[in-house]
Symmetry: C3
Subunit: 223 residues, 3 copies
């Protein structure tokens, strides 16, 4: 009623072509798109993207973890807004509380060597000024949140990088893209996730991310 062209793009360019492209599974596309909807507080597409994510095989427990993860990575208010909408979608689908991850699951094992390196690098870059941030990053994020088994580290990384792209936080993409690739996201999937997000996060956020990803991937290949 306002833009027939916009509707046509949604149906042809997005639904029929973008989501069907082979370079990234529909499940991964849903994880990335849902992340943007939450991290940018795009309430107009949130309900639809939650439903689509369930249709594409993202489990309710994984959605629960994505929302929790984004509270830390995109701001508490965004995730609180998302829980209200998710509650409705979960109720519609008859998703029971037993499908949701417990507060205190058995955590995944940590890679102590990699974590020691991370801690040393953070300590050097910001330790003196923000000691509590350093401590919370270690204890709350890397010895708790990231080890929760309800969302695989690879998917958690996809969420984190998508959130950074969504909000144009380019400077923080290299370490988290490297982590994503360490966690099993392939360079091809990373590239296609960025191409997909052009439509949902703003084209030029994807452009900036693509240039950074090119460098990160080239550096890894040169090693």
């Amino acid at each position: 009623m306002v833009s027939p062209a916009f509707e046509a793009y949604a149906e042809e360019t997005l639904a029929k072509r973008l989501w069907a492209r082979p370079g990234l599974s529909r499940r991964d596309r849903s994880i990335a798109t849902l992340t943007v909807a939450i991290a940018r507080n795009h309430s107009a597409i949130l309900s639809e993207q939650l439903t689509l994510a369930l249709d594409h095989g993202v489990k309710p427990g994984e959605i629960s973890e994505i929302i929790t993860h984004l509270a830390f990575y995109s701001g508490w208010g965004n995730s609180l807004a998302a829980t209200a909408v998710a509650k409705g979608v979960f109720a519609e689908r008859g998703i029971a509380a037993s499908a949701l991850p417990p507060v205190e699951p058995k955590l995944l094992a940590i890679d102590e060597a990699a974590e020691a390196k991370r801690v040393a690098s953070v300590e050097e870059s910001i330790g003196a000024t923000t000691p509590c941030l350093v401590k919370d990053t270690r204890e709350v994020l890397f010895r708790d949140l990231w080890l929760r088994p309800g969302l695989a580290p690879r998917d958690r990384s996809l969420v984190t990088v998508s959130s950074l792209i969504a909000n144009g936080q380019t400077a923080q993409i290299p370490p988290h893209l490297n982590r994503a690739l360490d966690n099993g996201l392939t360079p091809e999937e990373a590239g296609e996730a960025i191409s997909h997000l052009a439509y949902y996060a703003g084209w030029l956020n994807a452009f900036s991310a693509a240039a950074i990803a090119k460098e990160v991937i080239a550096k890894r290949a040169a090693k």
Copy 2:
């Protein structure tokens, strides 16, 4: 009721002074402000800015194209939210569907030489990592969206640059400000658009943009 000072600024500093300044037409101010309202999802001012845009001579078909353009440049969710509000405003004004641009209009001619340069530069900077983004940029954006005749290239550029300022995407301003100046926006209009946007996009987003614009304009003058 909460801030008499805020209301006074709105009436005196903005309505009486800012919008009346001679350096930029009211129509252009409306295009820039409406862009921020959509690209930042500022629903509190969206309805008012849509009405104001119509009052200032922005045509319904142009608003339709602005919303579509921003789906690509600021994220799909922002434009979907805007269509819902615009639908109400268009209904109130009795705007008929016949006033809206068709899905497949006769496209503007493309400048093949400039486009070949753009493609080569994008291919070099991100081609290997995100081939589909490169392809969609060429086919969906520059051989389709930008050639739609319902919004003049100069206005499309004003929308694009305003969206970048609104979201603090400073790194992407130079190429799009150059394109805006190529498309007929004058340096004076660009400067006054930035000054205007200080009020709607956050003062320091305008400051960052102003420093970049100064360099872009100086480089063009030196050629």
Copy 3:
């Protein structure tokens, strides 16, 4: 109902631990958090944060000034959205119009020497391109808004820096963090405000700010 873990983090990690940490008063934590809620348009936490701010000793008149200040620093639409919510909270608390700052109070004295330096630096960096932005920065911001007595310059600085962190505007943090430290915010408070904001503004916005703050503080110490 959607994420028991998210709720547990809210109760344990945030309410019991974060807000109780000694490095920053609850009042300052409220000013910083309320700023993020307004500057990022996080309506899901806005009403709660307004109530909490009043509980923590932020005066209604100070909230009124924070909203007005953020109209300029985070975009007009954000503050307009906040007034609607604040109106409800103020009514609930029985806050009278007489508790709000007048439109034209007796302004604080300006530091003419510091202001002359600021003007010269801005004039050099953006004067030629955006003359009206330079003029409004001087007249509307630094000879009016910043001198309004209803919010202390130190608190106004805390609001400004928190808004920059909230929206990832890292390039603008150094001058405003320096101003904050000049206005009486201690380096320890600045560090803890950044650590606090990790939870509300997105972890990696805090990380980027922490690295910048470390440099700003080190440079001042070296003088």
